[in-house]
Symmetry: C5
Subunit: 354 residues, 5 copies
């Protein structure tokens, strides 16, 4: 199926607030993970039902509600009701193929982006759609599959790091986005290292497998670009947003996000150009190698052509062919051939033809 844009016929014309899962079902059940904390206390729960978590919406503590598995349309409907979310929002949450976006609603900020994972061996990047809903005292994070890159944030909360425990959902959202963007940079640097290491192979040992690798990297770079670029818009939007849900002091962190994402985009651009150059080097190397072979072989043939001609002349059966009857003719012919061959070799060498 098309990796760059997945769109199914049956989804066309669905009402924009139809709570309908668009994506690949990756997990079986729905799992609700709660981390509830303030500067003093921290509690963690794992729940199966929406009713048990809705109470955290009221408490003054900061709550991070992680919802795994978006395919269960009933559960999603419950969440919409209990947390007073517009159906529109939930419909967006369930469309895992959507483009990253940010939107401000009356009682929450909706942010979606892609969490990327790089399979080092297959050189393949896979993506997972992440949605964050920032509410006053609770942050909802939606993802289809269990397994993510957010463990360091969980650790920082558990280890009672001052800043994250003393801040609200806005700072938590920053921390989550920051880790995802850090991860972009990490993936780019991993791919980048591989790309830069291609260079050595290119010059010493060009073969078609290198070509395939270059093309593989090019495709992954295009894919990364497509996943990462919309995040710049999101961050720019965040910086301009004047929402009560975002404390003043968190904007300085958003600036960091901007820098983080800009660095990723610029590095992608650099690697893109490097890949183009490598492709050109590959073609040059291959064609110069072929040229050398062709030149060598052509020169080789050319040397024998006049020699064979001379032998041909003395193979004719004319009655009168005086040279045939001298005693040393044959040896003279061989000598002439030798001189001819050697002088041609010298000539071609001098002209640097091989």
């Amino acid at each position: 199926m098309a990796r760059y844009l997945k769109s199914k016929k049956e989804h066309i014309g669905l009402s924009p607030d139809a709570i309908h899962f668009k994506g690949e079902k990756k997990s079986d059940a729905v799992l609700l993970e709660v981390i509830d904390f303030n500067s003093e206390n921290l509690e963690e729960y794992e729940e199966k039902s929406v009713n048990e978590v809705v109470k955290f919406n009221q408490t003054a503590t900061t709550t991070w509600l992680n919802i795994y598995g978006l395919h269960d349309e009933k559960v999603m409907g419950d969440i919409a009701n209990q947390f007073e979310l517009e159906p529109l929002i939930l419909a967006d949450v369930m469309n895992t193929h959507a483009r990253p976006k940010i939107q401000e609603y009356d009682n929450c900020i909706y942010i979606s982006f892609k969490m990327l994972q790089y399979d080092d061996l297959l050189n393949h990047i896979s993506s997972e759609n992440i949605v964050i809903l920032i509410k006053e005292n609770i942050l909802l994070l939606f993802q289809e599959k269990i397994g993510d890159v957010f463990d360091p944030v969980r650790e920082r909360i558990r280890k009672n790091k001052k800043r994250i425990r003393g801040s609200g959902t806005d700072y938590l959202a920053f921390a989550l986005m920051d880790i995802v963007f850090d991860n972009y940079n990490y993936i780019i640097s991993q791919i980048g290292e591989k790309i830069e290491s291609l260079e050595v192979d290119l010059l010493t040992n060009s073969n078609e497998s290198i070509l395939e690798e270059i093309n593989k990297f090019k495709k992954e770079i295009i894919y990364l670009d497509k996943s990462i670029k919309p995040c710049r818009e999101i961050v720019m939007e965040l910086l301009k947003m004047d929402s009560e849900l975002l404390a003043d002091k968190v904007y300085v962190h958003f600036e960091d996000l901007k820098n983080n994402i800009n660095q990723a985009i610029e590095s992608l651009q650099s690697y893109r150009e490097i890949l183009s150059d490598q492709l050109q080097i590959y073609h040059t190397t291959i064609s110069s190698k072929l040229n050398d072979i062709i030149k060598f072989l052509t020169v080789f043939s050319v040397i024998f052509i006049p020699l064979t001609f001379i032998a041909g002349v003395y193979g004719t059966n004319f009655d009168v062919l005086p040279e045939l009857h001298y005693k040393y003719s044959y040896f003279i012919m061989l000598g002439v051939m030798l001189i001819l061959a050697v002088s041609m070799i010298f000539y071609f060498k001098k002209k640097k033809w091989f």
Copy 2:
């Protein structure tokens, strides 16, 4: 006829409000389809005359008037009169080759765009010009041909979906545009799948038919790009428009349109780059295949050249040619030839020349 821009000599210099059909006549009669609804009631009619539908302009219910067939200049004139539209608007409606655009008038908003249809077998995209006029209680939709992508919207109205039945013409316009933009994404994903599947063929089985396909896809991508890009302007304009005809709550949906169209444009860009890369892969594959053949054949010839030369030398008719008279000369010659051939093969193999 030129697909990218169709312009006829006889249309040059027409008064901008001349009600004159510019396009290909695709249907015979004019057909007026009415869907009239509010939260409680729904009625559908099919009419032939403008006089019978004009009453819906006054009623408080939301009316969707679908006008098929724009070539009848008289009927169009009637519509302009009865619905109090400026002649300019109708002239624009009838120019089916025009670029998508949006314009605010005193009593209506004019939006035109292309409805695309993708012929899966021929790999050909055809387009149909759609014009939407948003008035207070009635939405006029103009198209030349019967048959469109709007059935899901009709279904949602009939099934009494709360949001669409409870909203006005602004939301209806959104729903119609949304379905057209969804359709763009669907077409792109269909073409995209085909493009991505080319890759496999490219590496295993390159031939000229693949080249033709790549070029075909390139042309369709250019065509899509040209049809879709102006829609971004339209949506951006909609988002900035401060019209009484657009309710506040509909803007959040327009944001969705923006995302939808941005995703389409970015995917097109990705496929464009992928096609360029495929073209390069094709050329590389073809030329590397040719190189292999040429190398093989050249090496083959080169091996025989010295052998033929040796035979030539012993075919000369010199009186004195001592080697001819030894008993094993012939067999020694054959042996030398064999050794020569084998060592050349080894040499070329070692140098990886074939």
Copy 3:
């Protein structure tokens, strides 16, 4: 002379208000054509002297004064005096190589652009500089050569079309620009049709004349681009201009101009990309044709090489060469040669080398 930028040494450093003709003199005399109209009356005159037309500056009727022939510096000076134009304006009018521009002055709006003409047979686009001066009751249109694309506007005035007869010089200016921009689109569609029809030839019958045609079209597209792009700036400027000379109701028409010119620019862009693709197809076709020939010939030679070698061996004159003396040797040799040739052909066929 350079078509893209014509600049003469003797014009450097001229005072900006020196009334000096810069361009090619294309007509002999100066001709003044007057169309004077309001909703009720219409009168047309042809005059030779400026004094006879200056009275129309005062009348309340709308006057279109068409001035053919700009090379006569005396007449131009008279016009400047009689119509109270700054010398600067007239100097600009007489510089027919200038870039299209728009400028607001105290008592008039200056607009210049290029009227293009496409010679269908030579595939050559020529341009003519047009200057429009919008004053309150008179519009001055300057062009060097008699013969233009404005006849449809003249017809609309004569046929007493309501809108044009009832409007002022602002609407007249719009109508004139509209017809020129329509003409751009028409020329592009004509060239576009030719470009699209090249495709068929490309695939069936590639030869150098196609290459020349592609390059010819590329140059014309660059030329069109250069003439048309500044018009977008002009229209954008017009839309922002807040002049008393422009009635409110005329802005909706300027929006049409914007769409018109955008369509032209985007179509040019599409055709540019199509031409690039065609060029690539051409090169691919040519080189694949050559490759086929080279492959065929190489294979052909390669088949004879071992055969000739065998004949060479049996042409040697060794005293002892046992095969020569068997009765069927010759026929066996021919047979071996045949088998060799046939198996090589099979081998090469199987490998798809020809």
Copy 4:
């Protein structure tokens, strides 16, 4: 030395107001040329000392002070003192490798740009840094070398042209910049003509000298682009500048400068594209010529290959080779060879292989 950016180690870290000459010393002494005028009077002087010219700073007449030779750091220091210029300004003046820029100071406007000179024979463009300081009653123009393009302005002043004699230093600055920009356009048109005339040679007589010329032009175009583009920023800045030193009526002239410079930039862009196309045409022509030769020669060889083989067969020394003993064998062989050759020629002709 690098033409595109000249920077010397010893200049790094100099205080920004160190009055230190950075550039190539092109003249020996410092020369001060004064043109002092108002509508009635005109006086011209040539001075060697700063003290003698400083009086013109006070007079109500407009003074154009032309300073040749910037390398004398003492004289420059005097100028700074006498004309009450910040040291920073003089430091900038003496850096002749700086990028064109504009800056407003308390008592003057600083404008620098490049005066270009085109050596027609060598196809080489050289540049000279020009700095204009606009003060209330005096305009200082700094240049290192004697010899410039400003003579037409001097002439206009001497001939008592109304506009320039009646205006202040702002109009004088415009006149000077206008002449420099006119000169840009003139140089571009000169190069453009040469580029366009290459076309004819390209199609009839492609050789390597054309290639060198194309590459030479490309480099000059890049150089022009780099010198001219910053001038657009300068003009845009001028148009926005709200300085007391600039009279209202001079802005209309600045608009002309904008048009002038835009035309230059767009023409450069056009010629850049034309050069790219020419390069491609060159390569196509060369390679198609080579292909023709290769095809001809290959076909030629291929015709002889079977003929030589036949001769080889009848050169074998088999005891039993019946054909040798028929009376007409030789002639039959020659006949067969002829038929073979002719039919191959026909076949290849038909296939359009040569």
Copy 5:
């Protein structure tokens, strides 16, 4: 390791204010260098402990505190405490792989950028991260390694240059950035000179080492571009910043920075284009050289082909072959061969085939 983006797994998800060194440790100890000055006095110290330098924070004199070695997390923590810096700032300081950025804090302005060093022999550019913190009376400059480009600034302070001694930390920051940007331009001009000097080699003596050099330069240009471009953003930000820490009179110097950095970026762009052109010239030269060889050799072979054929014919053993028995046959054959060879050479020469 990837040069364009270095990112380590263990740094992902670190709290943004974790004081943790990200980079390569280049020096052993931490060194604190103090230059304390005002118009009258100047004192320099070298300290090892933070406590001894913190007093300069209070004094009215301007202090430049240069901190070498950022890897010591304890020392960095002390600095944060003593100078009342947010932990966030120090965390940023210690991330030496970060993208250049600027940020305004309550009591300081944070600016980071790359100091580049060019190894002339290896053609390799290395970079060192520099952070400047502008506070009211003290400027902190952080760098990991001892050895920098700032000596000229130190000299200007010591030599009691009026402007730098009489200004505050804002001007000092300008002076430091100015020297770094000057250095960019110097490096570009050094590389540029080398690039321009390649041209000569290209035309006379193309070989693969030139190709490697071109590719090497391309990579360095990409690297420079990536390091320098963000500095433009920094300067633009500085110019817009309305901070109490920046005196009005320092903005004119920031304008100079803008010009400086723009010049660098534009020069890079020019060299990029020149390298692309050189690459193309290289390929053209190489392939035209190959073509000449191939043509020569092909022509050479072709001349011998008919000659060898003739000899073959007279080497046949037909009983009846009349020409063999004429007395002068052999000489006639040689003559015919000579004539044939000479006329073919003439023909090919005339057709300019070699």
